[in-house]
Symmetry: C2
Amino acid sequence: MTSMNSLTFEELGSAAQRDRRKRILDATIALASKGGFDAVQMRAVAERADVALGTLYRYFPSKIHLLVSALAREFEQANISLDRKPVPGDTAADRVIYVLSRNTRALQRDPNLTEALTRAFMFADASVANEIHAVGMHVTRMLMRAMHAQDVPSSEIEPTEEDIAVAKVIGDVWLASLVQWVTGRASAADVSKSIDVAVRLLLRD
Amino acid sequence: MTSMNSLTFEELGSAAQRDRRKRILDATIALASKGGFDAVQMRAVAERADVALGTLYRYFPSKIHLLVSALAREFEQANISLDRKPVPGDTAADRVIYVLSRNTRALQRDPNLTEALTRAFMFADASVANEIHAVGMHVTRMLMRAMHAQDVPSSEIEPTEEDIAVAKVIGDVWLASLVQWVTGRASAADVSKSIDVAVRLLLRD
DNA sequence: TCTGCGAGTGAAACGTGTTTCGATTATGCC
DNA sequence: GGCATAATCGAAACACGTTTCACTCGCAGA
């Protein structure tokens, strides 16, 4: 529709285009992982992805769109890997904490990447609504999966209003503590603790 | 100490310098109020404050430092105005909600300004730690004041570990919902509701 | 096969945050 | 008052996100 949205994998016609998109996101992740937000320079991404600068901007209309799209892809992959086996834990709270802890540890293993993606997400304005929404969907889906019994196929879950509200708040708390961890205002332990507190308050059975 | 911190009001020697600092922050607020984050352009701030660009950078080492310092001053003023009379409300939760609602309404009255200050706060990295800490102190102090009985002079409040933790979480939730409001992902009503839920969960008597 | 067109290219240009530096002015000290 | 030092000024330069544009290329349809 408008030229203001990132091109998604689905709406890309040819295999060559999908490959370009993949190369761009790969380059983004690689540069972010090496030097954080500042190291993701549009010229560098274009060069590394072997694509002209103008093309990069055709696929992703800004650096923020690019990074938030990269974040969405990361969460998508995390979801896929999570789908492979049931989430361990006896209660919804246990399972949610398991899933969030697992993801938090993964993020903390690559601080530069996490810094880049988190700051982009926080800095995004209304023009990035679609990409942000995609990220939110992945997080919500992940939490839904954890909140429900392990044996329900994820395609059959139909979350209640309440479920979604709770997932939203938990996602907010998770993100807020990640932001603080990224900026050195909170330790890894603080992040775990925030999540623990929030989940137990919101998901008491 | 390092050249990487904003010059605070206190460490400025002469009246002329304090006046320059004030002019700079005034110009920042005015421009932000008119056009949001993007309208706060360093050259424009310098010109409006009648100060050279280099001087502006001597007082505030980056646009983010500048905006977060402006945010700190706003909260400081809110605190002062709040100190003038006791906070109404019978329970801690009521008083906290009163204070936050009052501030939220004030912020929502000037969306551009709020957008500028909020986004700067969220985008800030570790180098802005001092300024961010100042903001946190003001918010914490405001909440402390509300959580304790109305007649205790604020200078005599000595908050417990627990109090501080709770205030921190409430502050996080408040900020997170403001961010979403600023980016159009949540309505004013959503903001009120988030605060309401968080406060009642965390401050049940 | 030819042709027209949209995608991609390469390079330059622009805007704004940030840095730099020599000249000028203010300030504190004798 | 005269001087040393620091603060401020003015203006240019630099860095990186973003835009623009003339050009090329590959391919779908005639």
